[in-house]
């Protein structure tokens, strides 16, 4: 039943200033401002639609589903990478305590026009991980059936929710400095199939994913900006746990695996992270001595020699790490 509002429940109307970072080939980059009145139901996609239809038909942006499913309206709003459809204008006004909302295209990708970016780089990363299920031949030929257990589905569900919006890649620092890193979205998609028991490409997927997984810097940008709570960084952590199943590893993967193993051993034996020992185990004597010289140069040598006492109740630590008595 449709509910009508009482006269006393009049909607709060607020005038906002929308400052858009615009770009086109002819003019280059420039800023343009618009004013309009919004209420508590006004999504940022509606703000843009009204600007385009009522004030300026030249403004270019993408928006399709208006319900956080298609991912096409990804952009930066007051510097936050967000879906415009999932953002209410008044929420931004309240959060930032200003009536001015700054709208910009996503970072990292090449801008085509105004708020529209070229997603080619994003798609090419996604296609590298073969983003679909490759079932067994018998299943394809309809000679067998392979069901997903509720437990397996539970593991995969969250990571299958990616809508390819590109926000995580646009805000990832590792993709900017390292061409070998596939980026958070591709890792989420890759792990979603790596861990799917119905898929037949396990070895091939490992080869694509492992080296890249050790190039993530765990900054949690992707976790923070994802509008679907996919947690790409969690899939990267889970993928790294598969490194031991890959026979031939790249230097980055081998070093990373050695490093994490050394951390685990240090905690198991002492309950603490013995920095010097972990460094030595990971990088060997030569690199460790070279780096020690850098530490000396900045006057910090005495700190490198500190030896922290181990945990008294070390048996308790080992039990927590899964060791039986």
């Amino acid at each position: 039943m449709q509910q009508s509002m009482k006269p006393s429940e009049k909607l709060e109307q607020v005038e906002i200033k929308v400052k858009v970072r615009r770009f086109n080939q002819e003019r280059g980059q420039y800023w343009q401002e618009y004013k309009l009145v919004v209420d508590r139901f006004t999504q940022m996609t509606e703000v843009l639609r009204r600007i385009k239809s009522e004030q300026d038909p030249t403004l270019a942006y993408r928006a399709s589903c208006h319900m956080a499913v298609c991912g096409s309206c990804a952009m930066k709003l007051n510097n936050e990478p967000r879906l415009a459809c999932k953002t209410l204008a008044l929420d931004l006004v309240r959060k930032y305590n200003t009536n001015e909302i700054v709208v910009e295209p996503m970072d990292f990708f090449k801008v085509e026009k105004d708020l529209i970016v070229d997603m080619e780089d994003f798609y090419s990363r996604m296609y590298k991980v073969k983003p679909r299920l490759y079932p067994a031949k018998e299943v394809v030929e309809n000679k067998a059936e392979q069901r997903l257990t509720p437990e397996d589905q539970k593991e995969l569900w969250k990571f299958a929710q990616c809508i390819w919006c590109g926000l995580c890649v646009s805000s990832c620092p590792a993709v900017r400095i390292d061409k070998e890193f596939l980026g958070p979205a591709a890792h989420a998609k890759g792990y979603r199939f790596l861990a799917d028991p119905r898929d037949t490409l396990y070895e091939e997927r490992l080869k694509v994913l492992i080296d890249s997984s050790w190039r993530c810097t765990y900054c949690y940008q992707c976790f923070n900006v994802c509008p679907r709570d996919v947690e790409p960084v969690t899939t990267i952590k889970k993928t790294r746990a598969h490194t031991k199943f890959l026979k031939q590893k790249s230097e980055v993967a081998e070093t990373g695996e050695k490093h994490v193993k050394a951390i685990f051993e240090s905690i198991r034996n002492t309950g603490k992270l013995e920095e010097a020992k972990v460094y030595l185990t990971t990088y060997g004597l030569v690199t460790s001595i070279r780096d020690m010289l850098y530490t000396m140069r900045n006057g910090k040598t005495q700190l490198a020699l500190i030896k922290e006492k181990k945990v008294n109740e070390i048996g308790q630590i080992q039990k927590l790490m899964g060791e039986k008595e």
Partner: protein, 290 residues
């Protein structure tokens, strides 16, 4: 005011100077930091990929000790230790299967975690519980000659819904603390970008590139020094300055120090007593701070 104190391994190791400054600042402010007895490593953001159950269990062991101490919060100066504990608590509460297995491990080690304590950053305690006005009242050496870049890094801020103190896109805590010392806070583009430390265990070249980007960004905004809130950022941004210079063939440094080191200097404690790095000490000396 009494707060449980979790230094973390780096703060008791290569970043020991962070520990020294934090304790001195707390003493001046009358904030009683009681170190968690027989604490263990939090796993530094890596243990969870190796063994998620071990990661959660070890972090809950520390928090259970704080519950036994009768205190309600555990403050840490390390953003990675902070995030490690907060993620552990979040995963324990959200994931019922994981909780079951962690409970079994806790039981086998005779540990009980009631869920009344979570980790907090020392910066949050200083800004919210001690208060900027009180900090200001203890400043004996106003640092009006210093322009200080405020670097937040990653794990004190993200994931926002689990960290919760301030928005990564609308930060204020470090600026509040810098202003309280009389210095001028300098915002810079890479203030919440990654310093690259977590990459140093697998892809050190990439890690150093991220460190260079942060230092260069603060430098380009004309800051005299940069402060940060993390014992591991300290290793990356303070200790390895010369390594960054060699790798990127630069002739400049961007002096860096932990946030409580700046407060301690404003409280009249000498840079030497704080054990600052040579680069930071030289930068302060040039501005008359010895």
């Amino acid at each position: 005011m009494k707060v449980a104190y979790y230094p973390g391994c780096a703060t008791h190791g290569l970043s020991k100077d962070v520990d020294v400054a934090t304790k001195k600042v707390a003493e001046v402010l009358g904030l009683e930091l009681v170190e968690v007895e027989d604490w263990n490593c939090c796993g530094g953001g890596f243990l969870d990929e190796y063994d998620e159950k071990a990661h959660v269990s070890l972090n809950l062991r520390n928090l259970s000790k704080v519950e036994k101490m009768g205190l309600s919060k555990m403050a840490t100066p390390c953003s990675v230790c902070l995030q490690s504990h907060r993620l552990a608590v979040n995963n324990y509460k959200e994931n019922t299967e994981l909780k079951k297995e962690v409970d079994s491990r806790l039981k086998s080690a005779s540990i009980e975690y009631k869920g009344t304590v979570d980790a907090e950053h020392i910066v949050w305690v200083l800004v919210r519980d001690v208060g900027v006005e009180k900090i200001k009242s203890h400043v004996t050496r106003p640092l009006s000659q210093l322009k200080v870049a405020t670097y937040y890094g990653c794990q004190m801020l993200r994931p926002e819904k689990i960290m919760g103190f301030e928005s990564p896109y609308n930060t204020h805590s470090l600026e509040d603390l810098v202003s309280s010392t009389g210095a001028t806070p300098v915002r810079f583009p890479m203030a919440t970008a990654c310093c690259g430390f977590p990459l140093m265990g697998s892809n050190p070249k990439g890690g150093l590139k991220l460190a260079y980007n942060v230092l260069n960004s603060a430098k380009s905004m004309g800051a005299d020094i940069m402060i940060h809130p993390c014992s591991l950022c300290h290793l990356q941004l303070d200790v390895t300055q010369y390594k960054v210079m060699d790798e990127f063939k630069t002739n400049w440094t961007m002096p860096t120090m932990y946030v409580t080191q700046l407060l301690a200097i404003a409280f009249g404690i000498s840079p030497k007593e704080l054990g600052l790095s040579k680069i930071a000490m030289k930068a302060l000396e040039q501005r008359g701070i010895t």
